[in-house]
């Protein structure tokens, strides 16, 4: 019964959203607003029950984890944002997080997004037994990365053999990449629609498996 009512409610909201395809209407607007309220309310409930209660409130109430008052008070300082006279105090927790997060992220981002990528680009163009399309692919990958980097380098005018030709090759490579992204984007959007049709025709109407 619980499941059946739920699926009917879900199906009606699904149709309400699809009604937007014909024309903007009040039911769509209602659903649009509900989503904002529910997601924030859900977030509050989950955050309290899974993080704040077991990691802060319960240990503090048990009486032997007073050191947790430090993160507790720092966290509470966020709320001063709503009190104009002392709102500057909210900069303390923000500053604490900003600084430490930047510090923690620095070496790891350097490794993940820079060093590993440079390392990954160093592949042999040819090895015995390598099929032709891989040889071509590796060449395109290495030269393409360099050319695309040149295209994004705006400190020099894109003229001459190196910067001019390089950036021209770069934009071709980028277009091939964006084309692939567009193809995948189409696939992704259709997949989301498929999910809803499976819900309506399968879970709700039971006309498909």
């Amino acid at each position: 019964m619980y499941e059946t009512i739920g699926i009917w409610v879900g199906a009606l909201f699904t149709l309400a959203i699809y009604s937007f395809l014909y024309k903007e209407n009040p039911i769509y607007r209602l659903a649009e607003h509900l989503v904002v309220g529910i997601s924030a309310g859900y977030g509050m409930a989950i955050t309290y029950q899974i993080t704040v209660k077991p990691r802060l409130i319960d240990p503090l109430l048990s009486g032997d984890h007073w050191i947790l008052l430090i993160p507790g008070i720092l966290g509470l300082l966020y709320i001063t944002r709503f009190i104009p006279r002392i709102s500057w105090l909210s900069r303390y927790p923000i500053g604490f997080y900003m600084g430490t997060a930047m510090g923690v992220g620095f070496p790891l981002t350097m490794k993940a997004n820079v060093l590993r990528q440079v390392e990954g680009a160093m592949v042999p163009l040819y090895q015995s037994g390598m099929p032709w399309y891989e040889v071509l692919g590796n060449s395109v990958m290495i030269l393409g990365t360099l050319a695309a980097l040149i295209y994004f380098f705006f400190s020099k005018p894109h003229k001459g053999l190196f910067f001019g030709t390089g950036s021209k090759i770069g934009i071709w490579v980028i277009m091939l990449g964006f084309g692939a992204t567009f193809g995948f984007t189409v696939m992704g959007r259709i997949s989301l629609l498929i999910g809803r049709i499976q819900y309506l025709l399968g879970d709700w109407l039971h006309v498909i498996d």
Partner: protein, 333 residues
Amino acid sequence: MSAVNIWEKMLNIDRRWIFLGIAVVSIVPFFINFGMPVVTTTEVEDIFYYMDDLGPDNAIFVSFDFAPGTQAENMPMAVAVMRHAFHNNVPVFMTANWPLHHGMMLAAMEYVFNPSTVGFYQEVPFDDWRELREADVTAKGELVEAWENQGNQLSEGALGWVFEGRDYAAMGYAPVFNLVILGMTVSIETQYPVDAHGNSTGEMPMLQEHKSLREVDMALTSSGSGACVWWVTYAREKIGLPIAFGLTAVMATDYYPYLQAGQVIGQMGGLRGAAEYEVLLAENGITPSTDKAFTGMDVQSAAHIFIILLIIMGNLAFFAGGFHKKTLLKGGR
């Protein structure tokens, strides 16, 4: 009516006709059911075979890093890997990087443990097997035996028992998830003293055996958000944890650099990636049949053909009507 007018009319067609067209091509194939084969790629096979080598001594993370908006793509990936893990008795830690993603984790469990799902797993909540735990019966084989000796019977159609705390732990959401990942490289229990059901994680056998991410063998991030990058940056680069990606199609092309550089072991891209994993599961007898992602691939074929036709028709009308030489077209609805 001049030829040019026909092209102009065509280009200014009410877009609701296109909407109707896409609706029709997305519904009809469900009733015809072509069942076209899905050929697997190394991107997905690499995850599958890596997973297949794992056993009860290993453990994996399945991170639900997607919201309901992309569940059609991300859910089948997470579900497929969960089923693979349960089949091989690999303990699964489930996390989420955002509150709504926490809900998706619960939805995945509801699906995998639901008796109406073909090939479901029968869940045993943490409290229900407390006695056995206290008697130190925690190894999967003897646990199942002891549990069945207590008079419990596997339901018809169920593929096996899964014990909460032994086979899975629903950890859920924690704020600033990138730092939570970092924190779990030191201790999982500190980041999650209790799970989503309020159970103490410290009492869970799987957590006692795998105390930090350093003692875990893989993390799959089924991701519709940038959280997948956090797993690479904060777990792979910090402690070398093998990462597998399950990405929405929109994101999939962006992360090929990670794949080629060996920072991720494989990647499922969109519904197609999930369908490939389902095919591998079914072909290897891990699930009785393929699931929703595979079924959706017929529709995906029809819709892609329809959109390609739209692109061709749009270009045909544009060039045949000579609009490439003219000023802007009047906009249609």
